[in-house]
Point group: none
Chain length 296, copies 2
DNA sequence: GAGAGATTGTACCGATTGTCTAATTTGATA
DNA sequence: TATCAAATTAGACAATCGGTACAATCTCTC
C-alpha cells in the first residue's frame, strides 16, 4: 500500500524530469505507473498534492544526507559546508529540482505556493545558521544579508557558468568561487556596518512566530474545544474527536504544520452532519486561513 | 488596426497584472477588450504570442527610458547607473514583470523560452558594459562575473527585503546596498585574480557574434551550395532546394534563428535518399551544433 | 468463505485552447 | 455614392485536461 504510493511518486518523478510538470498529464502518470485513475485520486487529491509529496520525500532525503556530513565534524569547518552545498546542488541537478521549482513557483495553487515558500525559507534559515557557526557569533547582524546574497550569487553564477561551460566540475568550481566571495563580503560589511535584513526577521517569518503567541494558542484551543463538545458524550464519535485533536497538535507542536493534511482532515470533518456548515467549523477554517496560511 | 492590436495588448496586460498569465483565459481577454475570438487569432497566433508582443513593447519602453537617463551624462558616474537600475526595477514592479517572467520561464513553448532567454542575456550584457564604463577597462576580465553576481544579489535581496519590509524605498535601499557590495567585490576579485566567466563568452552567447563573422558565413554558404548540387538540374526537386535555402536564410538573417524550425527541416532533409547519411549533411549538422547551438 | 477495504475501468463534467465558417461591418477607391 | 475586399463578429466545434462518480472486481484478513 505504502510502497505502491511511493512507486507512483517515483514514476511521476521520472516523467517530471523527462517532460516537466505541466507537460505531464495525469493520464501519463496512470499509464506509466500502471494504476487506475480512481487509485490515483485515492492516494492524492490532485496533481499538485502528488508534487508536494514528491518534494517532501526529496527534501527529507536532502536534509538527511546534508546533516550526515556534519556528524562528528567541526561545524565551523568551511570545507564541510562546501561539501554540503555541493551535495545539495548535485541533488538539485540530478532531480531537475530547480526547473520543477520555477515551473511551480507561480502556479495558481495557493497551497503549493505556500509549500515552496516555506521550503526556500527553510533553506535560507539553514544557510544563516551555518554561517553563524562558520563565521562566528560576532558577525551575526550581517549574516542574514549574506545568506541571502550567497543564494543569489550561487544560483546566478551556476546558471550562467553551466550555460557557458559544459563541465562536470561546474558545481564544484562555482561553490568554491561563491564561498570565497561571500567570505570577503562578510569581512567588508562587518567593517562598514551596512545592514538590510535583521536576523530577527527569521523569527517573524517562521511559521512558529505566530504560534508562539499566547493569544493564538488560546483562541485555537477554545475553537477546537467548542467543536469537540457534541462528541464528548458519544463514545462512537471517537474518530471526530481524534481528528480535531490532531489539528490542534499539528498546528501547535509541529514545526511546519502539514497544511495539506489539515485541509484533508477539515474536509473529512465537514462531511460530518453534526459539523457541516456550523458556525464553529467556519470559524476554524477562517482562523487557519488567517493565522497559519496568512491569507485574507 | 495597429492601435486596436495595441489596445488588446494593453487590456491583456492589465489582466495579467491582476490575475497572472496562466490564470487569465483567452475568453477573459476577449471579454475585457471587447473583441471576438476570430480577431484575437487574427492578431496573435496564440496566447504566448500575445505575451511576447507585450514583453516586446515593455522592453522597448524600458530601454528607451533607461538610455535617456544617460544622455549628456558621464557614463562612469555611478549615481546615473543607480538611477537606471531603480528605473528598471520600478518598471518591473509596477508591471508585475518578475512574476510574469517566472510564470513563463519554464513554459513548454520553445519560442517563448528563447525569447525570455534572449531578454535576460541582453540585460546581462548591458550590465557588463555599464560596469566597464564605471569601473574601468582594466577590471574587464572580472566584470562579467560581477555583472552576474550583481543580478543575483539584487534580485534575492530585493525579494527578501520586500517580504520583510513594506517600504516604498525598498528599491532605493536595495540598489544602493547592492552597488556598494559589488564595488567592493570588484576590488577584491581584481586583486585575487579569481575568474569564472570570460567576457568573451558574451560574444559566443550573442546571436550576432558568430554570425557577423565572415568565415562563418562563407563556410555555411559553401556547405549549403554543396548540398544543393544534386538538385539544381532536377526541376522536380524544388522543395529540397527551398528547404536548404531556408536554413541558410534563417541562420544568416534572422536575429534569433528558430532552432526548432531548423531541426525540423533537417529531419525532413535527412529523409531524402540523396542526402541521407551523406558527408555533406553530417557536416551541416555538426556545423550548426558547433557554431549556432554552441554544443559539443 | 464472508466481508471490508483497495483497486479498476469507464463514463462523465466543466473549463480551456485553438480551428473554422458564414454573416456582417468597415473603409478605401472609383 | 456604389462597390468590393479586408477586417471583424458570433458561435459551433474538436481536442485535451483535471477532476468526480460509481459499479464491478480483486485482495487480504479473520
Amino acid at each position: 500500500m505504502k510502497d505502491r504510493k511511493q512507486h507512483v511518486i517515483k514514476m511521476a518523478h521520472q516523467l517530471f524530469i523527462d517532460k516537466g510538470f505541466q507537460a505531464t498529464s495525469i493520464q501519463d502518470i496512470l499509464d506509466y505507473s500502471g494504476i487506475a485513475k480512481g487509485t490515483f485520486y485515492n492516494y492524492f487529491s490532485s496533481k499538485n498534492e502528488l508534487l508536494i509529496a514528491l518534494f517532501t520525500t526529496l527534501y527529507k532525503q536532502m536534509e538527511k544526507e546534508r546533516n550526515e556530513l556534519l556528524i562528528g565534524q567541526d561545524p565551523s569547518d568551511i570545507e564541510i559546508f562546501i561539501k554540503q552545498m555541493e551535495l545539495q546542488l548535485e541533488m538539485n541537478r540530478s532531480n531537475n529540482l530547480t526547473a520543477l521549482f520555477e515551473e511551480v513557483y507561480v502556479s495558481n495553487d495557493e497551497e503549493l505556493k505556500q509549500f515552496i515558500k516555506i521550503g526556500s525559507f527553510k533553506s535560507l534559515r539553514w544557510l544563516y545558521e551555518r554561517f553563524v557557526a562558520i563565521f562566528g557569533e560576532d558577525k551575526k547582524p550581517y549574516l542574514l544579508d549574506c545568506a541571502s546574497m550567497f543564494m543569489g550569487i550561487l544560483s546566478h553564477m551556476l546558471k550562467n557558468y553551466s550555460i557557458a561551460v559544459k563541465s562536470p566540475h561546474a558545481i564544484h568550481l562555482v561553490v568554491r568561487y561563491s564561498v570565497n566571495r561571500i567570505a570577503k563580503i562578510i569581512e567588508e560589511v562587518s567593517q562598514s556596518g551596512e545592514q538590510l535584513l535583521e536576523p530577527e526577521l527569521l523569527d517573524a517569518w517562521s511559521p512558529n512566530g505566530k504560534k508562539n503567541n499566547q493569544a493564538f494558542q488560546q483562541a485555537l484551543h477554545r475553537i477546537i474545544l467548542n467543536l469537540k463538545k457534541p462528541f464528548t458524550q458519544n463514545i462512537g464519535s471517537k474518530k471526530q474527536v481524534e481528528l480535531l485533536d490532531f489539528i490542534y497538535e499539528e498546528l501547535i507542536n509541529r514545526q511546519e504544520p502539514r497544511l495539506y493534511l489539515i485541509d484533508s482532515v477539515l474536509d473529512t470533518l465537514k462531511k460530518e452532519p453534526q459539523l457541516k456548515r456550523t458556525a464553529g467549523m467556519q470559524k476554524l477554517e477562517k482562523f487557519i486561513n488567517e493565522y497559519v496560511k496568512n491569507e485574507k
